[in-house]
């Protein structure tokens, strides 16, 4: 009895506030926009009985989804989100790997402090961390002043409100997600393997490529997914750092809903975004399972 209550409370909460809302999104994505409150049709009218239910179901169609394929704004936004997320993930890996490597090679007694320094920004507001780059990257910003001050450039660079700024924002905010799994893989590594490789005649660089990288593979894969998956649907970074030509689907969904007030299309955008995300999520789960089995 007690067990049933224990299961039922969180179960019902998640059903009511996670699954049901999702079914509503799915339903509205099949509806049409209407000048009414709420602004979509058809509405399910149970007072009409069976006829009402039938009228409701015949009113649903895939029109919004065909609309998404005909207007290039949407598929371009999906493609560009995936591309921006992929490039940013690669940059995060290139920035994060040396840091994780340095941490794993640092003296034992430094490591807890270094680890805390990586986690600390994670507790600081995401919005503030994104905002901090506006003052750095703007035309009169700190970076341009510095570069002009040392005479490297004569004209200020335009970085803010471009895709470059979006990449910087993603690398900066998601860096801890990349460092932590790679660090935990590298820390477990047996260093005598590297000595063995060098004794057997391989150069340090070759030993790094042939021993260290493959042994930290699980960390690299986990870090990449942890950055890639949330970056695709990112809203704050493209809207604060990106320009008007930065197309990301999270921003499109937001504008479709708040500016255009087109709920059915916004819902269809959400459904397709989720379908796209299922691919990396399933791949990630598979690789995690494989890593767990190999670790046993």
């Amino acid at each position: 009895m007690r067990r049933a209550v224990l299961i039922a409370v969180p179960y019902l909460w998640l059903l009511a506030l996670f699954l049901v809302p999702f079914i509503i999104v799915l339903k509205i994505s099949l509806s049409d926009i209407a000048l009414a409150r709420p602004p979509y049709a058809p509405q399910l009218d149970l007072n009409e009985g069976w006829a009402g239910i039938r009228a409701f179901f015949t009113g649903l169609d895939l029109e919004n989804f065909t609309f998404l394929t005909t207007d290039d704004l949407y598929w371009k936004a999906y493609l560009s989100s995936v591309r921006i997320a992929a490039v940013a993930t690669l940059c995060t890996l290139l920035v994060g790997y040396p840091i994780a490597y340095g941490m794993a090679r640092a003296p034992q007694e430094w490591r807890p402090t270094l680890l805390m320094l990586v986690i600390l920004p994670f507790w600081t507001s995401f919005l503030i961390r994104v905002y901090s780059w506006i003052g750095i990257l703007s035309t009169e910003g700190v970076l341009n002043q510095f570069l002009m001050g040392i005479g490297l450039i004569g004209e200020p660079l335009t970085i803010l409100n471009t895709n470059t700024a979006v990449y910087i924002g993603i690398v900066y905010t998601y860096l801890p997600f990349m460092i932590l799994p790679i660090y935990s893989a590298l820390e477990k590594m047996d260093e005598s393997l590297l000595e063995a490789a060098e004794d057997l005649g391989s150069s340090r660089l070759a030993a790094f490529w042939l021993v260290t990288i493959p042994l930290s593979r699980n960390g690299i894969v986990a870090g990449c997914f942890l950055v890639f998956i949330p970056s695709i649907g990112e809203f704050v970074i493209p809207s604060l750092l990106g320009g008007s030509d930065t197309l990301m689907i999270g921003k499109v969904l937001w504008e479709e809903f708040f500016s255009n007030r087109d709920w059915p299309v916004a819902s269809a955008v959400a459904v397709v975004l989720l379908l796209i995300l299922i691919i990396p999520i399933v791949l990630f789960q598979r690789s995690e399972e494989k890593a767990r089995e190999a670790g046993r």
Binding site: L6, I99, G102, S125, F126, I136, Y172, L274, L277
Partner: protein
């Protein structure tokens, strides 16, 4: 043991500079007399004064704290229950769906969570305000709590609970006297995580909020859309300060607790 090379030292220095310089600059410019980022016009704390006199910010901060407190507390209770169910309740009908619903919100883009909850609230005719934001935050943060707590639950020795039951404790007593004290650090960090996630959230709050329930991130977002503002720098400095002090205190406390526990375990082994 390999030597800590120059390469490692350089990559650590550059890496941590990259992580911390933007925040340090934010703090420095919050003390700038001038409104412009470009000019350093001397030290001043006037932006802090203006911030503390700005009623809108104070109201938003109060709403945010209320939302964060209630949502993280409910989320901790629900998340701990969910973790217990996942690790200890064995098989029950719909278990796969349950575990799916716990993990899905962790990877769900915020825009989708926000949109779907808003459509639910409109569908059932619930007026949007503090309550709806609390419901929304509770739902996604309970999943984080449950992940944190279940990792602790799965590593501790179940024999301890069985021993308590054998010695005549009721299941409830065994939970409060044995299980809860052992998982307490995980429950506390789950609460802290839920609290921080709620303080931080812009997207889901923007979708589910209504009149009179503007949270601080919504306020900050609308202010910084127009560019850099020194009041926001001052606000950021205060928040960064609070987080830094909090995290350092928490790590010192947990370090001391770990030392204490190791000592007790050694003492217990000696007497055994």
């Amino acid at each position: 043991m390999r030597r800590f090379s120059w390469f490692n030292a350089t990559s650590l220095t550059l890496g941590f500079a990259f992580l911390y310089l933007p925040m340090i600059l934010l703090v420095v410019y919050s003390f700038n007399e001038s409104r412009l980022v470009t000019v350093w016009a001397g030290f001043s704390t006037k932006w802090y004064g203006e911030l503390l006199q700005n009623e809108e910010f104070l109201d938003a901060a109060w709403v945010t704290l209320k939302v964060a407190f209630f949502s993280s507390t409910i989320a901790t209770v629900l998340g701990t229950m969910a973790a217990y169910v996942m690790i200890r309740a064995g098989r029950f009908p719909g278990r796969t769906l349950f575990s799916g619903m716990i993990y899905a919100p962790l990877v769900m883009p915020e825009v989708i969570t926000g949109l779907s909850l808003l459509l639910l609230f409109i569908g059932i005719g619930l007026d949007r305000g503090v309550l709806t934001v609390v419901l929304a935050h509770t739902t996604f943060s309970m999943c984080y709590v449950s992940v944190v707590v279940s990792s602790r639950l799965s590593t501790f020795d179940q024999a301890l609970e069985e021993a308590a039951l054998d010695l005549g404790a009721s299941p409830f007593e065994s939970f409060t006297l044995i299980t809860l004290p052992i998982i307490a650090p995980a429950v506390i960090s789950g609460w802290l995580l839920a609290f921080t996630l709620s303080l931080d959230d812009l997207v889901i709050a923007s979708f589910t909020t209504g009149p009179g329930a503007t949270t601080l991130p919504i306020k900050v977002f609308s202010a910084v859309r127009l560019g850099v503002s020194p009041e926001i720098n001052a606000l950021s400095t205060l928040l960064i300060g609070i987080v830094t002090v909090g995290v350092i205190t928490a790590s010192l406390v947990s370090k001391r607790a770990a030392v204490q526990r190791r000592r007790e375990e050694q003492a217990a082994q000696r007497t055994a």
